[in-house]
């Protein structure tokens, strides 16, 4: 009953036929470009793009929580770490194939996120931000904890093997190397996760999350179970980030506590704001930003790379207050109107 009432909050898919066609053409073009990249890029660039995909999934996860549901998290690096370690431990200790570690990492983080979300429900706004900040700050130290060392490898971390392209492909004479294979694997996972995320956010669940963000009491009055949806948002968000962490660990082939410090969590937050809050495509823009802008900043100045990063970030936020995704939407809308 409540669903139709708040449907107008989300811009309906394909407001006009022309708009829908444009969007479809754009998506197909992007996909074609993504598939063509491995044949024109160096292995090193492919590794970077694989990282971008991993970040994009993490940002989408954080966006579900912060952008759609309005809960601020300063500790998503912790879930990224849990996902990465789940993958590394499964591969290193139990000999699991790399692809099987992704669902496992997702499941572990879903549970971890849901459980963390339960007590966090009592905390609003900035207080929740502080609680998640504590989680993010403590994670590297927890990973060094010596009773867990048999599993986590302590400060030394875990080195994992690089995934090889499946024998079926190489035997068929396809000239595909490990980096290209990893890229396609990351791309496939990203497409799957984005499709799932889009469906989730466009449907009843997404509308409920947005309703809670915009007016919690009104949402409750309409029959939305706030407690359940907020914990669920936490769980799903952590699941996305965990899967991203596992993918990132496979790409880097190494996990260590120092890889997941509080800065990672803050960079994720920067990513969703720059990319565009409450936007699916924003996660991709944000991932490109956090992957490449620090490198550009380092190229410009070795003395103060983060000052340059700050200037670029301020420029983005100032010029595109609704994120890159918002600016793109605006641009498309202008082209459409005569």
């Amino acid at each position: 009953m409540s669903a139709p009432r708040i449907e107008w909050v989300v811009p309906a898919a394909g407001a006009t036929d022309r708009h829908a066609i444009w969007k479809k053409a754009g998506a197909i073009g992007l996909l074609a470009l993504a598939c063509a990249l491995p044949w024109v890029s160096s292995d090193y660039s492919l590794f970077q793009y694989s990282q971008v995909y991993s970040y994009a999934i993490a940002l989408l996860g954080l966006n579900i929580l912060t952008g759609y549901n309005g809960q601020i998290s300063l500790g998503h690096g912790a879930f990224y770490a849990i996902g990465a370690y789940t993958a590394a431990i499964l591969m290193d200790k139990l000999g699991a194939p790399y692809w099987a570690t992704l669902p496992a990492a997702g499941a572990v983080c879903l549970v971890a996120g849901f459980l963390f979300g339960l007590p966090a429900l009592r905390l609003e706004g900035l207080y929740l931000a502080l609680a998640t900040f504590a989680l993010g700050v403590s994670m590297p130290q927890l990973l060094k904890y010596h009773h867990l060392e048999a599993w986590t490898g302590g400060v030394q971390g875990i080195v994992i093997a690089k995934p090889e392209p499946p024998a079926v492909l190489t035997n068929a004479g396809l000239p595909i190397n490990a980096d290209q294979w990893l890229y396609f694997f990351a791309l496939a996972v990203t497409i799957l996760m984005f499709a799932l995320g889009r469906n989730l956010m466009r449907g009843r669940v997404g509308r409920a999350l947005i309703a809670i963000r915009d007016h919690a009491i009104a949402a409750e009055a309409m029959g939305v179970n706030n407690a359940l949806y907020k914990s669920l948002a936490f769980g799903v968000s952590a699941m996305y980030t965990g899967i991203a962490g596992a993918l990132g660990a496979i790409a880097v082939q190494y996990v260590a506590p120092d890889s997941f410090n509080i800065f990672l969590s803050l960079v994720f937050l920067v990513g969703i704001v720059v990319g565009g809050l409450a936007s699916i495509s924003g996660a991709l823009y944000g991932a490109l930003f956090i992957q490449f802008v620090p490198n550009i900043a380092d190229d410009i100045s070795k003395a103060a790379p983060w000052a340059i990063f700050g200037v670029i970030m301020i420029a983005f936020v100032y010029l595109m207050p609704t994120g890159v995704a918002g600016a793109v939407r605006l641009l498309l809308a202008r082209r459409k109107s005569p």
Binding site: F47, Y145, G154, V159, V252, Y254
Partner: protein
Amino acid sequence: MNRKPLFVAALLAAALSSSVLAQKKYDPGASDAEIRIGNTNPYSGPASAYGTIAKSIAAYFKMLNDRGGINGRKVNFISYDDSYSPPKTVEMVRKLVEQDNVLFVFQTLGTPSNTAIHKYMNLQKVPQMHVATGATKWNDPKNFPWTMGWQPNYQSEARAYAAHILKTKPDAKIGLLFQNDDYGKDYLKGFKDGLGDKARAMIVAEVSYEVTDPTVDSQIVQLQASGANVFFNITTPKFAAQAIRKAYDIGWKPVHYLNNVSNSVGSVLTPAGVEKAVGIISSAYIKDATDQRWANDAAIGQWRQFMNKYYPDGNQADVFNVYGYTVAATLQEVLKRCGDNLTRENVMKQAASMKGFRVDTLLPGISITTSADDYAPIESVQLERFNGKQWELFGEVLGK
């Protein structure tokens, strides 16, 4: 006497040697004009204090290039920020190897960062030269023939303390405090190896702490209760300061050995209270420019000139800048010896055949020796004692 054969032989020898000279061999990153060298360093983030090392190295190569380079080739030193984050190190090192086509990477900094690229470098067969970490695992030419350390590793430093204890206090009762991780255990192993058979009898207490612990006060009390009269303090700066203060406050006065990791006057001894640190023994291997002993030293004088001209922003009280200068001079010698054969294999080979090579900013008596199965360039240190103001070197150089 017929001189002809001699003449022919001489001619032959000349022809042979010139053909050897003429035979230039290059791997990616080397050419007639330049030698490209890669590096990652934390210019930002929690460990950015180390960033000055790569800056002083870059300045050193600039000086070298102004003087004509190495064997006529300019050094192109490409350094990227990795913020001490292992995934970033992997990304940047892959960029250096695959995109910038460097001949090798040099002085990549940090144990976790180097662990992250260890396997990759050895699979790619690109030298991971003179890494900036003290872990002992970099000296493993059998399994990792493309990775080499430089500074004295934790184990050889600990062996030096053990040797000193055996010599000066053979009936010592030793108490140990160590950080419970690879770094702490590395020291522990070297120390016990150094004591040999006597380790079991001499060590009366072995106490550890976690990096997550707020203080080490209770550990110090425990060590005092054990009756130890020698204390080997294997701690990182914050805990080292706590340990020094607590031992003094509860009136425990053992002979105190402090690991090199925490022997900074500014960040450890001063916060602990310099009067509480009098008599502590530690070790060093390069000249500290703040030490009055080197005020008129020629090498430190040259280093100051270098700093003034090529790295004027650099802090001359920071021993890291002497470190960067010294390690860059070591690499200069390796590349000089490579001659025109600038292949990755030959770089590794030359780096592994140093025999008593000295850079004058190393302490007197300390030199660099390597071989095909010894990838640990500096293996000796000299002990020093804190006099309430600064460190004073004493005794002879210990180690190989």
